[in-house]
C-alpha cells in the first residue's frame, strides 16, 4: 500500500471541507471569479456532491470591468453544470450610491467589490462563502484559517482566530455573522495547474499565450481596454502574453509568454521565479500589508 499522491490528498481535503460547509451551514454560497482557482473549486464541488446538484448557488461579484472571455466562460460553464448563478454587480452598488467610483488612470473597482460582496451576502442571507484563495498567495493568507470567521461587519480579526485542529472545523456562528471558507487553502499555484491538467479542465482563453494590445505600467503589462485610462506616455503595443491570475482588468497584469497549451504553462510555472501576485496583481503592491488591510475590512 502507498499513501495518496499529493494531488489526491489535497483533493480529498478540499472535498471534505466543502461537505462540512454544506452539512453545518444553512445557506452557503460558492464564490466564482472565472479564474483557474474557482474553476478548480467547481470541479471539487462536482466531486463532493454529484450525482446530486450542488447544495448551494454559485456567485460572481462582477466588477463590470471583467475580461469578456471570462464572462462568456462563466455563463457557459455554470449552464453546463446546471447550477444556479447569482451575479452581484459593482455597477449596481455604484448606481445605488453604496460606493463611489474612483477616477483617473489609477482608478480601480477592486476595492469597491468588498462592499458589493458584503451587501450580497446580507441580501441573500448567506452564512458561509466559499472562495478559492490559497495560503501561498500572500503572507497574510498564510495565517488565515480554512474556516475564517467574520463578524457582523464582515471583518477578519487575525488575533482572534479559532484554533483549527485535525479535520474538525467549527462552523458555528451567531445570526448576522458569517464565515469564509477556503477549501484549497493548502494548494499552491503549481498544484492548481497540475490539477487543471490532470482533470482536463477547460480554462478561459486569456490564460494561454495570445496576441493583444497592452501597455506598460509599474513594470507590468496591462491589457489596453476602455476600463482603464492611460497616462499620456503610456503607449499601447501588441505583445504575446498570458495572464497568471484573472481579476478585474484594471489591476491584472499579463506576462510575456509563448505558452499556448496547458503543458507549456505548467512547465513555465514550475520554472518561474516570481510569485503570481508579485508579478501580476497591482492590488497587492500598494503597501507591505496590503492584503492584510483589505482582509480586515472584508475582502475575500
Amino acid at each position: 500500500m502507498r499513501a495518496l499522491s499529493h494531488l489526491d490528498a489535497l483533493e480529498s481535503e478540499a472535498i471534505h471541507i466543502m461537505r462540512e460547509v454544506a452539512a453545518e451551514r444553512e445557506r452557503p454560497v460558492l464564490l466564482f471569479s472565472g479564474g483557474k482557482d474557482s474553476i478548480v473549486m467547481l470541479r471539487l464541488a462536482e466531486k463532493a456532491f454529484r450525482p446530486a446538484k450542488f447544495p448551494f448557488p454559485v456567485m460572481h461579484v462582477d466588477t463590470g470591468h471583467n475580461f469578456p472571455e471570462v464572462l462568456e466562460y462563466r455563463d457557459r460553464r455554470v449552464a453546463e453544470l446546471g447550477e444556479r448563478l447569482v451575479v452581484a454587480s459593482v455597477q449596481e452598488s455604484i448606481d445605488k450610491g453604496r460606493v463611489v467610483e474612483q477616477t483617473g488612470p489609477r482608478a480601480s473597482r477592486n476595492q469597491l467589490q468588498t462592499t458589493t460582496l458584503l451587501d450580497a451576502i446580507e441580501e441573500h442571507g448567506f452564512d458561509a462563502a466559499m472562495g478559492g484563495a490559497r495560503r501561498d498567495e500572500e503572507r497574510a493568507r498564510a495565517k488565515e484559517r480554512i474556516f475564517s470567521f467574520r463578524d457582523d461587519f464582515g471583518q477578519w480579526n487575525p488575533r482572534a482566530q479559532r484554533p483549527e485542529l485535525w479535520n474538525l472545523y467549527n462552523a458555528r456562528i451567531r445570526k448576522g455573522e458569517h464565515i469564509r471558507v477556503f477549501p484549497i487553502s493548502n494548494w499552491t499555484e503549481l498544484d492548481v495547474w497540475q490539477y487543471v491538467a490532470r482533470e482536463q479542465l477547460e480554462l478561459p482563453s486569456i490564460y494561454f499565450a495570445h496576441e493583444r494590445d497592452v501597455f506598460r505600467r509599474d513594470g507590468m503589462l496591462y491589457a489596453a481596454s476602455e476600463f482603464i485610462e492611460r497616462y499620456p506616455d503610456e503607449d499601447t503595443f501588441a505583445a504575446t502574453v498570458r495572464f497568471r491570475t484573472v481579476g478585474d482588468m484594471t489591476c491584472t497584469g499579463g506576462v510575456l509568454s509563448e505558452a499556448r497549451s496547458l503543458v507549456d504553462v505548467v512547465d513555465e510555472i514550475a520554472a518561474t521565479n516570481v510569485t503570481e501576485r508579485g508579478e501580476t496583481r497591482a492590488d497587492d503592491r500598494v503597501s507591505e500589508a496590503a492584503m492584510e488591510d483589505r482582509k480586515r475590512v472584508g475582502y475575500f
Binding site: M1, R2, A3, L4, S5, H6, D8, A9, L10, S12, I15, H16, R19, E20, A23, K47, A48, F49, R50, P51, A52, R135, D136, R139, A140, K143, P158, R159, Q161, R162, P163, E164, L165, W166, N167, L168, N170, R172, I173, R174, S185, N186, T188, L190, D191, W193, Q194, R198, V263, D267, A270, A271, T272, N273, V274, T275, G278, E279, A289, E292
Partner: protein, 427 residues
Amino acid sequence: MATSKELLDTELLRLVTAGSVDDGKSTLIGRLLYDTKQILVDQLEHIEDASRRRGHDYVDLALLTDGLRAEREQGITIDVAYRSFVTPRRRFQLADAPGHVQYTRNMVTGASTADVAVILVDARQGVIEQTRRHSYIVSMLELPHVVYAVNKMDLVDYSEARFDEIVRDLSELASQLHVHDPAMIPISALKGDNVVDKTDAMPWYAGTTLLDHLESIELAADLNVADRRFPVQWVIRPMADEHHDYRGYAGQVAGGTWRRGDAVVVLPSGRRSTVASVETLDGPIDEAIPGQSATILLADDIDVSRGDLLADPDDLPIVAREVTARVCWMSERPVEVGARVLIKHTTRTVAARIDEIVSVVDIATLEDTPSPGKMELNDLGVVRFRLAEPLAVDPYARNRATGAFVIVDEATNETVGAGMVVDAASS
C-alpha cells in the same frame, strides 16, 4: 527547480516546526525555502529591502515567515502559519508554530495535522524546558515521526562531543516520553550546514541532511489500515428520476481499506449491511484508503445519516457515554468541573459535561498535579466527560481520526479545547 512531470506524483508530507525565534526556527524555515529554490525573486527583493531597513548587513531569512503587521513590528510570531514547498521527491506542507510558553495551543494546533515534527534545539543550551514541552506535545499528539534539529552547531565549533552529549539527553527524553521514531541531526540554519546541503564542517557526522531525512520518511506505514472506520459526512440524494433510488454516504475514510462486499455496522444504531459500491465522481473504485474522500453505497435500505460511523462489525470502536481524554485547554476563560460544553468528534457534535479534571501536567517538570479543580489557557491535562449522546470512539493512540475531538463553547461558539481519547466506557 524540478520540472512539472517530476512533481506530478509525489506524496504530501505535513510537518510542524517547533522552537522559538531564539532557536533560529524562522531562519531554518527560511533556509529550507531558500536552499530548495522556493523563494522567488520578488520575495527575495522584499526581504532584502526589509533587512536593509532594519539595519542588518545580511539577508534575514527569518523575515520570510513573518506574516502579519504586529509580528513585523514586534519581531514575534503570533499564530500558526502554513506554507508549502516542493522538491523533486516530495510536496511539503509546513505548519509553523510559535515556541513561546503562552503558545502551547498553537503548537498543539500545528501538530494535530502533522506527520512529522521538527523540534529545534540550540546546541549551546542543549535540552531545556522548552524541548521537554515540545516533546511532550508531539508525544501527546502521537506524531509518528520526530526530528530534533540541533541548531547553531557553528556556535559550538561544530563539536562532535557536544552533539553526542545532546543526543544522549534527547534519547533519554524521547524514550521517557514515548516519542515515535526520533532522529537527531546537527545543523546550522544560519550557515546552511546539513539543512538542504551536506556540510564539510562536520566530517564526523555520517547521517543524512534534514531535508534528506524528511524526504525519506515512509508515510504509507503510518496509515491505519487495520480498523475500518468511515464517518458519514453527507448523504447524497439526487432527487432526480435517473438516480431515483440513489443514496450515497459521503465522507473521508478514517481507518482501514474500504472495498465492495465489506461487512458494515452502522453506529450508534448497530444496524448491519454490506458495502455495495465505493465511488467517486469517476465511478466505482477498487478501494478507498485512509484520508481519501469517497462515497459508500450500502446493499440495504437502512437509516443512515450524518454523524453515524460505518465500521467493521468484527472490529468495533467503543460506543461511549463516558470519555476520558487528554485535553489542551485553549481559551482565556478557565474551565471547571461541572462545565457544559459541546464536543465535535468526526462528523458528530454532542453535548457533554465535565465530570472530573483528573490531573494537569506541570510542563516544567512534566509531573502531574491531581484534581486541580480547573484548567487554564495552555494547560494540558486529563479530563473525564459524560456525554449526552453516545459517540463511537477509538483511543487516540490507535486512531488519530476517531480518537480526536474539539471542544466548543456553546455560548460563544469559540473552539476552547482539543481532546484525545485515552479511554471510554459505554455507560
